[in-house]
C-alpha cells in the first residue's frame, strides 16, 4: 500500500503505524463529573462507524517524519482518496464533532 504524504510524496505503508479511525480525534470535551461523561467517552472510545467505503483514518509516519496523517481510504478497494495533516485538521474537528 502507498500513502501520498502531503509533505513527502508517496511513501510505502510499512513506514507508518496505523492508529485507527479518525473518530478518535473527536475527544469529548466534558467535565468528568458530568452525568453523561462516561457514556460520551464510551461512545468515543468504543463505537465505530466502520464503513464499507470511504473511511477517515489515522496513519502515523512513525518511521518517517512522524506526521500524523488523516487518510481517507476506500475500505473496499484500499484506494486512497485524500491525505491531510492531522495537526492542520484536528482542532476544527474536535470542536465541531464533540457538540451533539
Amino acid at each position: 500500500m502507498l500513502i501520498d504524504h502531503p509533505l513527502l510524496g508517496p511513501r510505502d505503508a510499512r513506514e507508518f503505524t496505523y492508529l485507527g479511525s479518525a473518530e478518535r480525534l473527536a475527544r469529548p470535551d466534558v467535565a468528568r463529573d458530568d452525568a453523561d461523561a462516561i457514556t460520551r467517552f464510551h461512545d468515543y472510545v468504543y463505537l465505530r462507524e466502520n464503513p464499507a467505503g470511504p473511511h477517515r483514518e489515522l496513519w502515523l509516519h512513525a518511521h518517517g517524519d512522524r506526521s500524523l496523517l488523516i487518510v481517507t481510504r476506500d475500505t473496499r478497494t484500499h484506494d486512497v482518496l485524500s491525505v491531510e495533516l492531522a495537526r492542520e485538521a484536528g482542532t476544527a474537528e474536535t470542536e465541531s464533532e464533540v457538540r451533539p
Partner: protein
C-alpha cells in the same frame, strides 16, 4: 439418510446414484418463529441447536450467498480452549466439549482431530503468563500441560532450538486442541438443521428490519418480507452493515486476516504449533497442506485481500520456528473479513431492539467457538437468558468496565 461406511459401500455398488441432497432448497415461508440471519457456521449451528436442543423448529436461516461462504469456509481450522479470562475460558471449554461429540451428534464426519495445540514460550515472564493461563484452563476443566524445552523438543524435534533469535524455552500444550475440517462444519450443521425441519434459504439477503415500537417484527429480504417472532443476527464480518439497518452502532471494526496453505506434503507437523515471540500458527491438514497464518493486516478493510507486507512477515515467523519450511511452497493466500471487537472478545447478547439478538465480534477466533456460539445463542434466543458460559459477552460491557481483554492491549482492534 444416515451416513456410514456400509452406506458408502451400498451406494457404491448402486453406482452412487442414490445419494440425496444434504439440505433442501425451500421457498421462504411467510413467517417463522425464529429467523437466523447469516448461513455461516455460527448461524447454522444456532439453527441446529434451536431445533435439536431447545425444540424451536419453525426456524429459517437466511444466507445472502451460499452457506458456509464466510469465515467458516476460510480459516486455519484450529480448535482449542486455552483462554485466560473467566469470561472466556468456560465458554471455549464448553465449545471444545461440543466439538468432541460433533461427529456422533451430527452423523457427519467433520474430522475433529485432537492432535494438540502447542503455544511456544520464549522467556521466563512468558512462562509465568502461560502458567497463569494454563491454570485458568485447569480451573475450568480443560487440559493444560506446561512443557519445558526438552518436552517441546520431544514433540517437535525440527523446531529451531539452536539458532533462534528468541530461544524456545518451553510451551503450553493443550492435548485436546487440534483442527477440524472447516467446510464440513457448515455442511454438517446445515444437514443436521435441515433434517430437523429448519429452512435453509440461500441467495436471500436481508435488506432491512421491520421495527415497530422498538420491536423487531420481520425482516425485509431480496426474496420478500418474512415475519419472525425473533431475529438472531450472526453475520460476523458484515455485522456493522447488517446491524446498521436496525439503527445500531457497534463496538466493532472490520479487518482483513490472511491465511495460507502450502502444497500437499507428506506429514511433517503433527499438531498445531504457535510462535510466542510473534503471532504465527501452523498445522498440517489431513490432505497434507500446511495451513498457517499470523496477524491481521492491521487496517480497516472490507477488501477480502491483504498486503504483501503481512505475507512476508508471516513467512518470516514460519522460518523463525521451522527453518525446514524454506523450500515448502505457499500454494494459496486468501484474505478473510474479521469482525474485530474493541477488546478481542465476542458478543452474544440481546440488543436495544426487542426480539433482535446479536452474535458477532469474533475477531479471528470464531471458528473454534462455532458449536458453543450456536448453542449459547440458541439458548439466549429460546430462553431470553444468557447461557451460563456466555454471560460475559454483553454489548454494554465497555460501559460497565467489564472488557474481556485477554492480551491487555486496550481498545485498539487493529492490534488485538
Amino acid at each position: 439418510m444416515r451416513y456410514s461406511g456400509f452406506k458408502l459401500l451400498v451406494e457404491a455398488l448402486k453406482g452412487n446414484a442414490g445419494w440425496a441432497p444434504m439440505w433442501r432448497e425451500p421457498e421462504p415461508k411467510p413467517r417463522y418463529d425464529v429467523i437466523i440471519v447469516g448461513g455461516g457456521g455460527h448461524g447454522l449451528a444456532t439453527a441446529y441447536y434451536l431445533a435439536n436442543v431447545f425444540g424451536v423448529r419453525n426456524v429459517a436461516v437466511l444466507e445472502k450467498g451460499w452457506i458456509g461462504g464466510g469465515n467458516v469456509g476460510r480459516n486455519t481450522t484450529i480448535v482449542r480452549s486455552n483462554y485466560l479470562l473467566p469470561g472466556n475460558e468456560p465458554f471455549y471449554e464448553f465449545s471444545l466439549k461440543l466439538w468432541e461429540g460433533l461427529e456422533q451428534d451430527l452423523n457427519y464426519n467433520a474430522m475433529v482431530s485432537q492432535r494438540g495445540v502447542l503455544n511456544l514460550l520464549h522467556s521466563d515472564a512468558q512462562r509465568d503468563a502461560y502458567a497463569r493461563r494454563g491454570n485458568a484452563m485447569a480451573f475450568a476443566g480443560a487440559d493444560p500441560v506446561l512443557l519445558d524445552r526438552e518436552g517441546v523438543r520431544r514433540m517437535y524435534p525440527f523446531l529451531d532450538f539452536e539458532n533462534a533469535r528468541f530461544p524456545i524455552r518451553g510451551g503450553l500444550l493443550q492435548p485436546r486442541g487440534g483442527t477440524v475440517r472447516h467446510d464440513a462444519v457448515a455442511w454438517g450443521y446445515a444437514r443436521g438443521a435441515d433434517r430437523l425441519g429448519v429452512d435453509i434459504i440461500q441467495n436471500c439477503e436481508v435488506t432491512g428490519f421491520d421495527i415497530v415500537d422498538g420491536e423487531c417484527r420481520a425482516v425485509e429480504t431480496t426474496r420478500g418480507r418474512i415475519e419472525a417472532g425473533k431475529v438472531g443476527v450472526a453475520v460476523a464480518g458484515s455485522s456493522t452493515r447488517v446491524m446498521s439497518q436496525a439503527g445500531l452502532r457497534l463496538p466493532i471494526e472490520s479487518h482483513v486476516l490472511q491465511a495460507f496453505v502450502s502444497e500437499g506434503l507428506k506429514p511433517v507437523i503433527d499438531g498445531v504449533v504457535t510462535f510466542g515471540a510473534g503471532h504465527f500458527y501452523i498445522s498440517q491438514s489431513d490432505k497434507g497442506g500446511l495451513v498457517f497464518g499470523g496477524d491481521i493486516d492491521g487496517y480497516n478493510s472490507y477488501a477480502q485481500r491483504g498486503g504483501i507486507e503481512t505475507v512476508q512477515e508471516v513467512c518470516e515467523e514460519a522460518m523463525a520456528i521451522f527453518p525446514m519450511l524454506g523450500r515448502a511452497r505457499v500454494l494459496r493466500i486468501w484474505g478473510g473479513l474479521m469482525d474485530m471487537s474493541m477488546d478481542g472478545s465476542p458478543f452474544i447478547d440481546r440488543t436495544s431492539v426487542d426480539g433482535l439478538y446479536f452474535n458477532g465480534g469474533w475477531c479471528y477466533g470464531g471458528f473454534k467457538a462455532t458449536p458453543a456460539s450456536g448453542y449459547c445463542f440458541a439458548h439466549l434466543i429460546a430462553r431470553d437468558t444468557p447461557h451460563d458460559c456466555a454471560t460475559a459477552y454483553r454489548l454494554d460491557r465497555y460501559l460497565t468496565g467489564r472488557a474481556i481483554d485477554e492480551a491487555g492491549i486496550g481498545p485498539y482492534p487493529n492490534i488485538h
